[in-house]
Amino acid sequence: MIKVTNLKKSFGDLEVLKDINVQINKNEVVVVIGPSGSGKSTLLRCLNKLEETTSGTILLNNIDLTNKKVNINKVREDIGMIFQQFNLFPHKTVLENIIIAPMKIRKKSRKDAENAAYILLDKLGLVDKATAYPDSLSGGQKQRIAIARALAMEPKVMLFDEPTSALDPEMVGEVLNVMKQLAHGGMTMVVVTHEMGFAREVGDRVIFMDEGYVIEEADPKQLFSNPQHERTKAFLSKVL
């Protein structure tokens, strides 16, 4: 579904991604781990062109996103992205947050968009928050609404950039549960996280990154119990 080949990305003189090659298959949950500053967020942000790539190709269903002629707005409609800081629209209610993109971009009628939004909210147990503003929600609720907002566009892939890192510990579970449900429903997901339990339980594959390289990638059980590289071992010994 996504095929990244020889991807490089520099910010000025700083080369952050150095020759990345990864593939993400349909219905697969790929978890990306690695130390802070290793380029995980940058890789994720290249996948929906929030960052311009320096060289290499990114194929999404055989469309090369690095081709300047590709309409990136159209591509992004099919790629949901979840941020560490939620980034809900504070001047809009929960319901408006969810329906704005389906209405303005997918040209759904307000009625259809709202019905779909309520179905999502119902699944998340957040129907009673529909008319609330984001400021009044807890972190866990905000992140679940952010997921609902992305899902309302019916994306083919979801990218998660440390979705639980800004949450109080007691709220991490509710967000991970939603992500698990999504995974079980067959959503293709790329998840940057420090939640090793989630990686082990839900991940089909784990990618370990360090200093702009993919050092190792393997089935989670294998990678956690029998890492092949020194750097992976060193990292895992710190986080496990």
Binding site: N87, K104, A150
Partner: protein, 233 residues
């Protein structure tokens, strides 16, 4: 005639004319601020765009307009432009005031737009929204709200600056004061009275602004309360 009597006589003689002139002051201010808002938004967009030449253009505009005394700009436009295109005094004045305030509003809008968290733009763009749609539905509403105090301030300055168009024969409030004081030989009292007209205008505008600001700030709070109420029912 003592001081009080002079004041009373000025109000009796010119009060109504001053009030009529006030409507011209208000309308030239309003029109100039509409022009200024359009100019300000356009140049603010130029400045936050990644297009080098547009950002430079905005810088040059702001530099020139801020560097020129307003009265020079007014005279320049009145005599300069009017010699090419026939503009009424009123229009020439409104345009000059608008060009002037526009430069300041551009900086206010730019600051407000840039103060909106980058994550807002990224979230909207990642949903597939185009840059213009993101700007109009996500960034600008938040930026406007933050800009209101600074906008209000600039609008008040614009109102007071409108007095300068008296020098290109627009018969607004200050020009009436000029003629009245030349007739009655009571300049001190005349300008005092006119001063209160300006203060009255600014007061009304300030109250209006406070009301708008309060509405915007309490809107969210109000919605929440309403929600709670309907729940407890």
């Amino acid at each position: 005639m003592n001081f009080i009597e002079s004041i009373v006589s000025i109000i009796q003689k010119h009060g109504t004319a001053f009030l009529e002139a006030t409507t011209i002051t208000v309308s030239i201010t309003a029109i100039s601020l509409i022009i200024a808002t359009v100019i300000g938004l356009v140049f603010a967009f130029f400045k936050v765009s990644n297009i080098w030449i547009l950002a430079k253009l905005a810088d040059i505009y702001i530099f020139i307009v801020r560097g020129l005394p307003l009265i020079v700009l007014i005279m320049f436009l009145y005599y300069g432009i009017s010699s090419v295109i026939v503009l009424s005094d009123f229009i020439a004045g409104a345009v000059a005031l608008g060009i002037h305030s526009g430069a300041y509003l551009a900086e206010i809008f730019r600051g407000a737009i840039q103060s909106v968290d980058r994550g807002q733009n990224e979230a909207a763009r990642s949903l597939g929204m185009t840059a213009p749609l993101t700007m109009s539905t996500i960034i600008l509403p938040q930026a406007f709200k933050r800009a209101i105090p600074a906008l209000g301030n600039q609008f008040i300055i614009g109102l007071k600056d409108s007095s300068l168009v008296a020098y290109i024969a627009v018969t607004e409030l200050f020009s009436h004061a000029l003629t009245a004081s030349a007739e009655n030989y009571m300049p001190f009292e005349t300008y005092l009275v006119v001063g209160f007209y300006y203060l009255g205008l600014v007061l009304i505008f300030t109250l209006l602004l406070n009301y708008v600001e309060k509405r915007l700030n309490t809107e969210n709070l109000y919605m929440k309360k309403l929600k709670k109420k309907t729940h407890s029912l």
